[in-house]
Structures are given as C-alpha cells and as structure tokens.
Amino acid sequence: MKRSAIIETDHLTKHYGTTVAVDELTFSIQEGEIFGFLGPNGSGKTTTLLMLLGLTEATSGTAQVAGFNPTKEAIKVKRIVGYIPENIGFYDDMNGKENLQFIARLNNIPDTVSAPKITDALERVGLKDDAAKKVAAFSRGMRQRLAIAELLIKEPTIAFLDEPTLGLDPEGTTLIIDYIQSLSKDNHMTILLSSHDLTQVQRIADRIGIMIHGRLIAEGPLEKLAHEKLGVEDREISLDEVYMKYFQEVSG
C-alpha cells in the first residue's frame, strides 16, 4: 500500500533564549502509521508536538500537518489533531461525562450527537460505571483512559500522545497501549506517540524516531535501526538495546 506523508517538517528549529530545544528537525509521518517518538526528558519531543499543533511558534523551518501550516492555520490543524498532553488535566469538579461533553462542545459537536458517543466511548475505555464520579476521585489510570475517551469523542485524523503511560502500573500501561493500537486500527488515526516505555512502543510502533538533544538521530522501522546499529538481521531484537546504543553514542 502506498502511503502519503500526513506530517512533514523541514528544518524545524526552536530556540528558547540560547538553548536549542529542537535543532533542524526534518522528518515525516505517513498516513495511518504509529510513530514512536523516543528520547530522554528534555530532548525536545514535547516542543516538537507543540510546534506541530501551533501552540508554539517555530524559530525557523516549516511544518505541515495534513497540508496545513500549524502557525498560520492553527484552527484547521487543531480541528483534525487530537492532543493528549503529558499530565493531562481535567476539570476536577466535573464528572467524566461532563468533561467529555465540554470537549465535544468545544469541537462544535451538538449535544444530541455527542451524547451517544460519550456513552460508547466511556464503555470502550471501561469507565462506564465511573462516569458519574467527579474526576477528582479518578486514579491516574482512569484519567489516562478518560483522555483516550476524549480522542474517541473528537475523532481526529491525527493523535499526538505525549507520554500517555507515564506513571502507570504495568497492567495500566498495557491497557493504554492496547487502546492506542485500536485507535489506529479501528478508528484509522495516525498516531504520534512519545513514551519511555520501550517494550510497549516496540509492540505497536510501525516506525521509531529517536530524539536526543533536540536532534532526530535515527528514524525508521525497528529492524532497520537494529540493522544499522547492531548489525543484526534475524535474531530477536529489543528496542531497549537499540535505544541504549544510540544514546551511548551521542552522550559518550
């Protein structure tokens, strides 16, 4: 199947004062794929996501999201991109249902259309019984699942997930990763997933990008990266190994 690039950047750069957060990033993401975005904290992953969403202006370089310029056509980009920020916040004094309804209204979805969608989405992420609870009482895992439900309401063509498994227990992590995989498979979303959970990323990602110190130092399917770095072809490879190798190379 021939796929076309839905996200493209060209020498995208962001400076904060003298520090370079993102350094001449050039990469593309194909329609329908799951792109695993890896890198240590502070390597510029979040900044890249914010630039692609038009929440932060690039210092130089350009980006295109589904043919739109995120800086100039921010609203158009935000209409088709769903973003789950790291440590996503909810309105604690509203319940899960109300939080989702607010998102639906912000996206111009009439209440009559959103109501059945909200019920479905809550059921799909296993929060049906907790829908009337105030979000303040939600556990971390429940909040992340509510965030996934938000995507199911908005139904974007592209989803940016910034560390969606941060601080979750292993079962919770597996669950979230499964949901993300189903977003890609069942809802046909293109997914840009940043995470530190290498085993889980390896499980679902079609391609991997490794970002260190604001630079994308490697990009491609895991097999390709493994071949480049470790020179192995056939044996069982783990992303951990590949990642550490890249990391040591840059840091050491």
């Binding site: 979040t46 973003y83 916040g89 309105y91 604690d92 607010f102 209204r105 111009n108």
Partner: protein, 320 residues
C-alpha cells in the same frame, strides 16, 4: 463562536455552583437588605407628616442611614466581586493542566479570555440586578412610595455603570491571573490593587494637593487658592476607578447634584454650591455630566483587555 459559547456555559455553571459565589452573594444580599431596612425605616420616620418630596425612591440608595448608603457599599465592595470571580481564571487552568488541553481544541485563544470575561459579566449582572430588585421591593414596602419613570431610568443607568465598574475589576483580575502563575500571588496582587485604589489614592491626593497648593493660616481664606487646591486633589484622585464610579453614580442617582466637583462652603462660591440643591437636573443633563467618567471606566477595562490579549497570545502553553 461555538468555542466561546461552550466556555461561557461551563464557566457559568462553575460560578453558580461554587461556594465562593454563594458566600459572596449571601454576604452582599445580607448587607444590602440590612442597609435598606435601616435606611427605609429612617426615611419613613423623617418623612412622616411631610408632603412627598421628589425622588424619595432614589433616596433609598443615597441616604447613608446609621452605616453607609447602598451606593457607597457597592462602590467599596463591588470591586471585590470582580476580583473574586476572576483572580484565578487563567492560572488555575494552567496549574491543573487543562489550559494546554483547552488551547489544543479548535478555538481561538482569545475565546478563552473572552469566554471567561463574558461569563463573569453575566454573573455580575445577575447578582447586581437581583439584589437591586430585592432591595427595591423591600424599600417600596417600607416607605410606600412608587418610583416615577425617571427614577426607574436613573436606577437602570446606575445598574449599567455598576456593571461596567465591577467588570473593570474583573478585567484587572483576569489580567493578573495571566501575569502571575501562582494563584495566591494573583489573589494578593488583586487585593493590593483594590486596597491601593480604595484607600491610598484619596490619601495620596490630599498629600499631593497639600504639597502643590499648601493651605496655611494666611492663605486659608483665599477662595481662589482653595479652588486650586481642590482641583489638584480631584485630579489626582481621578486616577482611581473608585473615584470615577463614585462621581458618576452620585450624579446619576442624585438629580440635585449638578457637578462632580466637591462642595465649597464659603464666600461667593457657597452660593453657587448651594444653588445646586434648588432644582434637580434633567436626566439627559445628568447623563451628559457623567459621560466622560463612563468613558474613562470603559477605557480602563479596554486597556486591561488589550494587555491581557498581548500577554496571553505570546505566552507559552506547556503542560508543565
């Protein structure tokens, strides 16, 4: 447009269900009712046996009674309504991580500020209108005089000016909630602002006036000098929105006042000053007198907004 409607809707629900609003509303309602009751009883006593003077109904709001008049109460306490409704508008969203979510939805960023401001204004309007109506009802039963058409008009204009005035403080507090990341910091800053304009500006005005046009034993009798002194004091005190509000509502609600300048009871000016009590001003003329004040109030609100936009549009929105 839809984005802003969704935000207004949510904010209104938040306001009306928050303890903060309920406490504030209860407090204001209580004080207004007590004040009106006392003023009304006083008026009834004073006016019994007299022919009905003009504008009795308005006197309900301007008479001071044993404590203070309702107009004074709103002038002093009104800012607090605006400040309490807005001091954490943006920074609470920021600290709870909802701001980045909000900003990543397909709405313009100014819709966030506008939505919050408009929902605040709606809340203020409902609050002031309902209190005014309840107070009017109580006052009417107490003094038993039906307000004339002009009095009703004057009340409505008074209400509009009051809403603009409280909205101004709401604008200031929203600006502070953008400028300061800490909720406590912005709460303190707005309170400091309020105290500064309520107490220190009037004090500062007399200090400046004394320094520029000193009045001592020898010059005290000089009317021209006294006028000059008062003029300086007035000019300085006009930097406070509170002064602007006091002056403009004073004129609107008290038809016998013809100028916002203060009384001077001496020499030839005394005659002029007391002449103002002789015949009430027409409504249109009263409005004419306060237009500059009203424009200043609106201008300050607009400036607050301009700064809010400029800062908020440039601010980085991160989930941290």
């Amino acid at each position: 447009m839809t984005g802003i409607r969704a935000i207004i809707r949510k904010e209104l629900a938040d306001h009306f269900s928050s303890y903060r609003f309920i406490i504030l509303f209860a407090l204001i309602a209580m004080v207004s009712l007590i004040t009106t009751y006392m003023v009304g009883m006083g008026l009834r006593e004073e006016l019994s046996g007299l022919a009905k003077p003009k504008f009795v109904y308005l006197m309900l709001f301007t008479s001071t009674g044993p404590l203070f008049s309702l107009v004074q109460f709103v002038a002093f306490f009104g800012p607090l309504i605006g400040l309490i409704l807005g001091f954490d508008a943006i920074n609470r969203e920021r600290s709870s991580g909802t701001l980045s979510k909000l900003a990543s939805q397909p709405i313009y960023r100014d819709a966030i500020i506008n939505g919050k401001f408009l929902s605040g204004v709606i809340t203020i309007t409902i609050m002031l209108l309902s209190i005014l109506l309840v107070v009017s009802g109580l006052g009417l039963t107490l003094i038993g005089v039906v307000p004339g058409v002009e009095e009703v008009w004057r009340m409505m204009i008074y209400l509009v000016i009051s809403i603009v005035y409280v909205a101004l403080w709401l604008g200031i507090s929203i600006l502070f909630s953008i400028l300061f990341r800490g909720i406590a910091t912005s709460a303190l800053a707005t309170l400091a602002m309020w105290i500064f304009f309520s107490f220190f500006v009037s004090m500062g005005a007399s200090v400046v006036a004394n320094a520029m046009v000193p009045l001592d034993q020898t010059t005290r009798g000089d009317p021209e000098r006294l006028m000059k002194h008062l003029k300086v004091r007035r000019m300085v005190s006009l930097i406070s929105p509170m002064q602007l509000y006091n002056d403009s509502t004073g004129i609107i609600i008290d038809p016998t006042r013809k100028t916002t300048r203060s009384l001077v009871l001496m020499g030839p000016i005394e005659r002029l000053s007391s002449a103002r009590f002789e015949r009430p001003l027409m409504l249109s003329q009263s409005i004419y007198v306060v237009i500059p004040h009203l424009i200043s109030l609106i201008a300050i609100t607009v400036i607050c907004f301009g700064v809010s936009y400029a800062v908020f549009m440039k601010q980085e929105i991160r989930s941290i």
